[in-house]
């Protein structure tokens, strides 16, 4: 077996050294009845690299690869071009095969990277501090709601109807067990976000208001009024960003008064990967840092006075606080945070702004083109790189039909909101720098044919 270095002779010598007759002597604590006498049934014996590669490649070929067809899916996971050096660097063994930097003297690489990552995320979101990452956007969103509960000592959260329905689902699952109350609603298929509903819902019992920016239908609305109302009532504003590239083009949530900003970092550096692993982003104002979940990296000095970095404020965390911790989270999403950070470093301010402009301009072109398809209406007034078109028929079967023609047309709102008839004709279309003008034409022409 290629991964196991011990030879038969080593094993014999080592058994002798520990005073065991056979390997079974070392499993003596396992009751007789629970010991398996031989290899587990069903699973084949070990296999060569080539044989395993053949099996896995055959499975991979049964998927329609996004990069091989005109592709317009978004809804919280975006297809961006990831520079070659990102994937090269994250595969260096010193990153790939290291672990949480518990011993800072020999983990300065990971720690300094995390310090840079935290700063990049905080600046992008317009916040003071960010943590070293969470599992993904949806779990970061619940952690933010939970944190707002700790800060305000209240248990009533108001969720915008523009929040990703999976994020709402996750919050609903957790709230069921923690006894939090969530005020939720489904979105309406029009250009207006639910700012008025939020303003009306906030009161003295509200712990937080959660608003996605841009929202699930791609709409962009100013958060300032909601922030002001929340603050008047002692509640926090949580902004959720599922497409961080947008922040190269639009104001940060922090600038508009958000107290906590969370997001999904997949867009930068990580790739689609069928939904995971991704990287949750989590930032907030300085004054709330001790209620934050997750790992934090901080600057300090070593015994010679040289600058160095360590994990810090760990008295918030489960390994010290146990049942009193701010969260049960242990492992974060380190390698994805590294990929995010490298991509952001490669882009820099200028690159991110240009990238954002290319995304937006492409989306504007696509909206104009799709708006000319007979029977199709562009729902959004505002958007970044994703918008909704209303078809004259239910969108879900159309998406399926177009997939058969080799076009991945977008995410039907029927998939995201099953049973919501008012949304069934909506199709969410995302455009990034990877989308060509030909792709847009192909989608428009296919829609013209299918809808004719």
């Amino acid at each position: 077996m290629r991964y196991l270095p011990l030879t038969t002779d080593d094993r014999r010598q080592m058994l002798h050294a520990v005073g065991a007759e056979s390997i079974d002597d070392l499993f003596v604590d396992v009751p007789e009845a629970a010991r398996l006498s031989g290899p587990i049934e069903g699973l084949p014996m070990h296999a060569s690299e080539m044989a395993v590669e053949r099996h896995m490649s055959a499975l991979a070929r049964r998927n329609l690869v996004a990069g091989e067809v005109p592709f317009f899916l978004g809804a919280g996971a975006y297809r961006h071009h990831v520079p070659a050096s990102v994937d090269h660097l994250i595969q260096r063994g010193e990153y790939l095969t290291a672990y949480t930097p518990y011993q800072p003297e020999i983990a300065q690489g990971t720690l300094q990277m995390l310090f840079e990552f935290q700063t990049q995320v905080a600046r992008l979101f317009g916040c003071d501090v960010a943590n070293a990452s969470m599992y993904d956007g949806s779990t970061a969103c619940w952690e933010a709601i939970s944190m707002a509960g700790r800060v305000t000592r209240r248990k009533r959260a108001v969720l915008s109807s523009g929040l990703h329905p999976h994020y709402v689902s996750v919050a609903r699952t957790m709230a069921k067990f923690t006894g939090d109350t969530l005020d939720t609603a489904a979105p309406e298929l029009n250009a207006m976000t639910d700012g008025e509903r939020l303003l009306a819902a906030i009161n003295g019992e509200t712990s937080c208001v959660v608003v996605q920016y841009p929202d699930i239908l791609g709409r962009i609305a100013d958060l300032s009024a909601v922030a002001a109302r929340a603050h008047e009532h002692g509640a926090l504003l949580i902004a959720v960003v599922t497409e961080p590239v947008a922040l190269g083009a639009i104001k940060s949530p922090g600038e508009m008064g958000a107290d906590i900003v969370v997001g999904e970092g997949q867009s930068l550096g990580v790739g689609l990967q069928f939904g995971g692993p991704y990287v949750g982003l989590f930032a907030c104002k300085d004054k709330y840092v001790r209620q934050m979940p997750g790992r934090l990296c901080g600057e300090t000095v070593d015994a010679e006075g040289k600058r160095g970095f360590v994990l810090t404020l760990s008295t918030r965390e489960q390994h010290i606080r146990r049942e009193k911790a701010t969260s049960n989270i242990c492992t974060n999403s380190g390698l994805c945070a590294l990929a995010f950070s490298i991509h952001v470093t490669l882009l820099g301010e200028a690159g991110l702004r240009t990238l954002a402009s290319i995304n937006h301009d492409g989306a504007v072109r696509a909206a104009e083109r799709l708006g000319k398809v007979p029977g199709v209406r562009v729902v959004n007034d505002s958007f970044f790189n994703e918008f909704v078109v209303e078809l004259p028929v239910e969108a879900r079967p159309v998406v399926r039909t177009l997939a058969d023609r080799g076009i991945l047309a977008g995410v039907s709102l029927g998939r995201l909101y099953p049973g919501e008839e008012s949304l069934a004709n909506g199709l969410l279309v995302a455009v990034t720098e990877t989308t060509t003008a030909d792709d847009i034409d192909a989608l428009a022409e296919a829609l013209e044919e299918v809808l004719a």
Partner: protein, 538 residues
């Protein structure tokens, strides 16, 4: 999983360090291959970029549709060109210890070799470049990976079902505990509010139970480092929802009474959660399902070697008993007789349950967006197929043999509190007994750094004073173990002898001991640009 609770604060040397007067000092501060690296905020600029974007895709003058919220303020993100970027991250990487460099005996973390075939398979475009919301007909291969891995995890554990979506071990724990809560509520026994957790448990166990709204109480251990069965039985009652037990436990020992514990808990109406962090010790030799366990998470990044990545991403599928399976999270996959693999999300859950499970499924809901850690599933499945039934059994055997070898070879120099009670499983536990006054586990750990090793887990589990938990894993050769044993013995002897120089360790690492107290007292968690130098008054 490890703890550095020491809060150690160094004293600054009188001469201010290795600056002036140090014959080995260099002008740059570097030492040959040991290279310092500035922060991107010190070397990058707002104008520099390492990505050439296609400007022809810009539409100047068309006007934006950003809702009047176009960004006006700078973000403050420095950029680097590609060569600078590659150099920055490569130089930083060389300040990290890693499995690829040597033995990484971090107990309870299972730092084994990460096969590179796994990386290659995860990067096949058919897995890496597909969107989670594509029509299910276009992702049958991806769903097949999830389904196939789920099948083997059930096979290897002898359980009834598996929840694949949890994102890491602690998320898996939460999944298991939520299944238990849902099952209790379904039975009308939602008033069971207590979860029993041994003192030796990972901190995630009590944190998870508390996060889900339970009250946490301890379970006493006996003198052999195992759960005290009689004491546990005495505590069981109508208020106990579950016990959370790690098996093999965090002292590196198998719980021989596990089946009896499970039977007692079940008889009292509770459920048994098993922390599967240490599954590597028994994979292919023992099936948790045969021990009466109701739920156990499997850290794919430990037992099945998806890389640890400097702190994740992990992946924590949870195998479930027949009693808990109906309550597992959405979404899940299911293959029907026609060969089609279904992705069961919120909308079809009830219908599918009625059609195929007699309406018995009653999921507690969704734990994460999308479908779990697909990139980790491809790696874990590759690992399982590479090892096969014989290889996985050998994994457990070699992991246990290596740990026992370390335990016995060091017995003379390090106190092993439970060694008298028999062999250990996959990790060897030592205490700081016998160290000279003023010398601690921390000193031994820092001494090991100078020897070229990542230290063992220290000060965990909490039940042993100055605990040192050594998990060598099965991917170490005998020669590598002998070399490590030699180093650990030498350092331990220095601690016993009270060698003052050990207090200064490490002296050969990129940094000396770091001031963690300062970091916590005056937190600096983000870079702040230096204030611009004021222009001289005219």
């Amino acid at each position: 999983m490890s703890v550095n609770a020491s809060g150690w604060r160094p004293e600054r040397p009188a001469n201010g360090g290795s600056g002036a007067g140090d014959a080995t000092a260099t002008f740059s501060g570097n030492r040959a291959l040991m290279l310092d690296e500035a922060l991107i905020f010190e070397i990058g600029t707002a104008e520099t970029t390492g990505v050439d974007l296609d400007a022809s895709m810009l539409d100047d003058g068309r006007g934006n549709r950003l809702g009047g919220l176009a960004r006006t303020a700078p973000i403050g993100l420095p950029g680097l060109s590609e060569p600078e970027t590659v150099r920055h991250y490569t130089r930083l990487s060389r300040q990290n210890y890693a499995i690829d460099l040597g033995l990484f005996p971090l107990g309870s973390c299972t730092m084994k070799h990460n096969p590179r075939l796994n990386e290659r398979m995860a990067r096949l475009p058919g897995f890496a470049d597909i969107h989670p919301l594509q029509p299910v007909d276009t992702v049958q291969g991806a769903l097949a990976v999830i389904n196939e891995l789920a099948f083997w995890l059930i096979d290897l554990t002898g359980m009834h079902g598996v929840a694949m979506s949890p994102k890491a071990g602690a998320h898996g724990e939460l999944c298991g505990i939520l299944c238990i809560k849902a099952a209790l509520e379904k039975r009308g026994e939602g008033d069971r509010k207590v979860v029993l957790v041994p003192e030796s448990a990972h901190g995630t166990n009590p944190a998870t139970a508390a996060f889900a709204g339970f009250k946490v109480e301890g379970i006493p251990a006996n003198a052999n480092g195992r759960v005290d069965l009689e004491a546990l039985k005495a505590r069981l009652g109508p208020d106990v929802a579950a016990v959370m037990i790690t098996n093999p436990n965090t002292c590196g020992l198998f719980e021989p009474d596990m089946k009896a514990i499970s039977d007692a808990v079940h008889a009292a109406g509770g459920y048994v959660y098993c922390d599967g962090a240490n599954f590597n010790a028994i994979v292919g030799r023992v099936r948790p399902g045969d021990l009466g366990i109701d739920a156990m998470h499997i850290n794919l990044h430990k037992t099945f070697s998806t890389p640890h990545g400097g702190g994740g991403p992990g992946s924590g599928p949870v195998v479930l008993s027949e009693a808990l399976s109906p309550f597992g999270p959405l979404p899940y996959t299911a293959r029907t007789a026609d060969g089609h693999i279904h992705l069961i999300e919120e909308e079809r859950a009830e219908e599918f349950s009625n059609e195929h499970f007699g309406g018995k499924l009653d999921s507690f809901g969704r734990m994460t967006a999308f479908h779990g850690q697909m990139g980790m599933f491809t790696r874990a499945l590759t690992y399982i197929l590479s090892h096969g039934a014989d290889g996985l059994r050998q994994v457990a055997e070699d992991a246990v043999l290596n740990a026992n070898y370390v335990l016995r070879q060091l017995e003379g120099v390090l106190e092993a509190p439970f060694a008298h009670s028999g062999p250990c499983m996959h990790e060897a536990l030592f205490s700081d007994e016998g160290f000279a006054d003023g010398f601690s586990t921390l000193d031994v750990a820092k001494g090991l750094i100078d020897e070229g090793y990542h230290p063992m887990t220290m000060y965990f589990p909490l039940v042993v004073h100055g605990a040192m938990l050594v998990e060598p894993t099965e991917t170490e050769s005998k020669a590598a173990l002998d070399a490590f044993i030699g180093s650990l013995r030498a350092v331990a002897e220095r601690a016993r002898a009270g060698d003052a120089a050990l207090k200064a360790a490490p002296v050969h690492a990129p940094r000396r001991r770091l001031d963690e107290t300062l970091a916590a007292r005056k937190p600096i968690l983000a870079w702040k640009d230096p204030a611009p130098v004021a222009e001289a008054a005219e």
